[in-house]
């Protein structure tokens, strides 16, 4: 079975004027369907950069990256959008819900950009909100929710188009440890239901929830272990 993600000698260089900084220095990585992986490393080691490449928010400077068997390097901006919309759900440290839309509308956002309209999108969104216990707040603006609640809504949004891959970059960075544990439980639950989940974190306690830990240092993977 082809892995969901496959990276071969992936490098990423950022140019700042005349300086070029190589942030990822040859990453080889395979993520298979149904995995729950944590990426760990010190600040500035390149975790987010790697995550953005996996999520097709950015493209490698060199190397190969196959997502679901498809070569990502060389795809046009629009194709990347379509790819993200169908295959990837993002959860960010800062939630990033739209302030002028309701909770329900926020969850529905990815359906607006689908290639084929989704039947019963609203019902599905309500169902997802019921799953996380926020059905009663679906007409609220996000600013009336607590941080943990907002992050749960963001997870619903990430799940809305039923993507294979759920990417979470420091999803608990803004939350207290109890709420953080709830969020990790939710991600673990999604993993049990078949989603492939990748979490970026500093926190060993968070990483411990994952089944696999990928350590990165100065742009290379230094250690892998089963969690």
């Amino acid at each position: 079975m082809t892995p969901l993600c496959r990276m071969e000698d992936v490098r990423k260089t950022f140019r700042m004027g005349d300086d070029a900084v190589e942030v990822l220095k040859g990453i080889d990585l395979e993520i298979v369907h149904g995995e729950f992986a944590a990426i760990m490393g010190t600040s500035g080691s390149g975790k987010s950069t790697l995550m953005n490449l996996i999520g097709c928010l950015d493209v490698p400077t060199s190397g190969r990256y196959l997502l679901a068997g498809r070569e990502v390097l060389g795809l046009k901006d629009d194709d990347l959008s379509v790819l993200r919309n169908a295959h990837i759900g993002f959860v960010f440290q800062n939630f990033y819900l739209l302030p002028y839309a309701t909770v329900l509308e926020n969850v529905l956002l990815p359906t607006l950009y689908r290639e084929n309209a989704m039947d019963g999108a609203r019902e599905r969104a309500v169902e997802l909100l019921r799953l996380i216990g926020l059905e009663a707040r679906m007409r609220f603006r996000p600013n009336r929710l607590s941080g943990g609640e907002q992050q749960r809504v963001a997870i619903c949004r990430a799940l809305m188009n039923d993507p294979e891959l759920l990417l979470a970059d420091e999803p608990t960075g803004q939350l207290d440890s109890k709420t953080a544990a709830e969020i990790m439980n939710l991600l673990a639950k999604m993993n049990e239901r078949g989603k492939t989940v990748i979490v970026v974190t500093h926190d060993p306690a968070i990483a411990a929830c994952a089944k696999r830990i990928i350590r990165i240092k100065d742009g290379v993977i230094v250690d892998e272990q089963a969690g």
Partner: protein, 408 residues
């Protein structure tokens, strides 16, 4: 559709942060459509009014005036004082030019009019033939018209205009009463139907009509008339007939090639030309003002959209992350900017519509709704919004999700 509604709602929420600026920008578009609609409706009204006025003068009417008509302003008298047109000229036109349907020679002069103690200093007194009413579209409201016999026998009878009748008789019925015109007692045989102001703005209801021969022999003591009204057989016959009349009169008046005519065949389109010119100028000014307003409106919307795009960087980044393409973002912001301008434009169109109704009422113009004007106004408002949105929406596509995530 759902997407459009949601985007609109989000846009409105965001616009709420810039209420004053939005109002100002909308105001520009408002005035733009306002002036376009007003100008459009009014020029249509004027065109219709002109048409009505010309028709009101008489069907297929040609006016021959003695002397050269010079015009310096809208109120210059149409008719000169010279009286070198004759009854013979009128007869010649009627008898030799087949495109002629009716001919009505007429003389006029202002005389004092008296009834009892009421004296009106200068009322226009017209000597007319029985055909006059038909040719000039004058109708009689009460009493009887001037007949061939009245004219042949130089009877001292008169038809009285509404305004003059009111001045002299108030509520009383004037028919059968006698008034003193200059020093000639005349019996009133009829009252004219109301006619309103003529092209030059003179009250056509403040005058008297008496038989032409009575006028020539008993009042002015001459054989010449001031004016000959000619009715052509059809509208198409008017222009050729004007030429024929000119040729005929030059022969009859023995005017040699190099000499100027001692009469004028009036072009009725020319009569209303001055008014049209004034209106044309107003239209041009109105359109310039509209263009300036649209420009200001567009600049205002441009500045607001730049602010909005900046305020919503995160939103744009997130939309991109969940899969919106650049063209979706462009479309979204173009719709937002045209929504702002079209809402201003709609209000402007409504206000302009009401305003042109009010102006038409004050000027006593017929009310017309210029469909083209409304369409142009709508298109212009939508266009100014779209143009104003191009740069900001392009800016929006340059916002990248990765940058947003790194920003905080």
């Amino acid at each position: 559709m759902k997407r459009t509604l949601l985007n609109l709602k989000i846009a409105l929420g965001s616009l709420g942060n810039f209420k004053l600026r939005t109002a100002l920008a909308t105001l520009g578009v408002f005035f733009g459509t306002f002036s376009l609609v007003v100008v459009g409706n009014l020029s249509d009204s004027l065109a219709l009014k002109t048409e009505q006025e010309i028709a009101n003068l008489g069907n297929n009417l040609i006016i021959v005036v003695s002397g050269q008509v010079r015009r310096h302003g809208p109120n210059t008298p149409l008719i000169s004082r010279a009286t070198n047109l004759t009854l013979g000229d009128a007869e010649a036109i009627a008898n030799t030019l087949p495109a002629t349907s009716r001919v009505a020679p007429s003389g006029f002069r202002a005389f004092p009019v008296r009834r009892g103690n009421t004296v009106l200093k200068a009322i226009a007194v017209n000597g007319v033939t029985p055909d006059f009413g038909e040719v000039r579209n004058f109708e009689i409201a009460a009493g009887s018209p001037i007949t061939e016999e009245d004219d042949r026998l130089q009877r001292k009878v008169a038809l009285i205009g509404r305004t003059t009748a009111e001045k002299l008789f108030g509520e009383e019925n004037p028919v059968g009463k006698t008034i003193l015109i200059w020093r000639v007692p005349c019996q009133i045989i009829g009252v004219m139907a109301e006619k309103g102001a003529d092209v030059a703005g003179n009250d056509q209801d403040n005058q008297l009509f008496i038989p032409l021969k009575t006028f020539l022999r008993n009042f002015v003591n001459q054989e010449n008339v001031n004016i000959i009204y000619v009715q052509a057989v059809s509208a198409e016959a008017i222009d050729p007939l004007r030429g024929e009349i000119e040729a005929l009169l030059r022969v009859r008046h023995k005017i040699r090639k190099e000499m100027k005519d001692d009469f004028t065949v009036v072009d009725l389109k020319e009569v209303t030309a001055l008014k049209s010119q004034a209106m044309g100028l107003i239209s041009v000014l109105g359109r310039i003002a509209a263009a300036a307003s649209f420009l200001i409106g567009a600049l205002g919307i441009l500045s607001i959209m730049i602010l909005i795009v900046n305020e919503r960087r995160v939103e744009i980044g997130i939309r991109r992350a969940v899969g919106s393409r650049k063209r979706d973002i462009i479309l979204q912001f173009l719709m937002e900017s045209s929504f702002i301008s079209v809402s201003g434009g709609m209000i402007g169109m409504a206000a302009g519509f009401l305003m042109s109704l009010a102006i038409a009422k004050v000027l006593d113009y017929p009310v017309t709704i210029s469909g083209l004007g409304l369409l142009v106004a709508f298109a212009a408002s939508a266009l100014s919004g779209i143009v104003a949105g191009i740069y900001p929406s392009f800016k929006a596509t340059q916002i990248h999700p990765v940058d947003i995530i790194r920003e905080i």
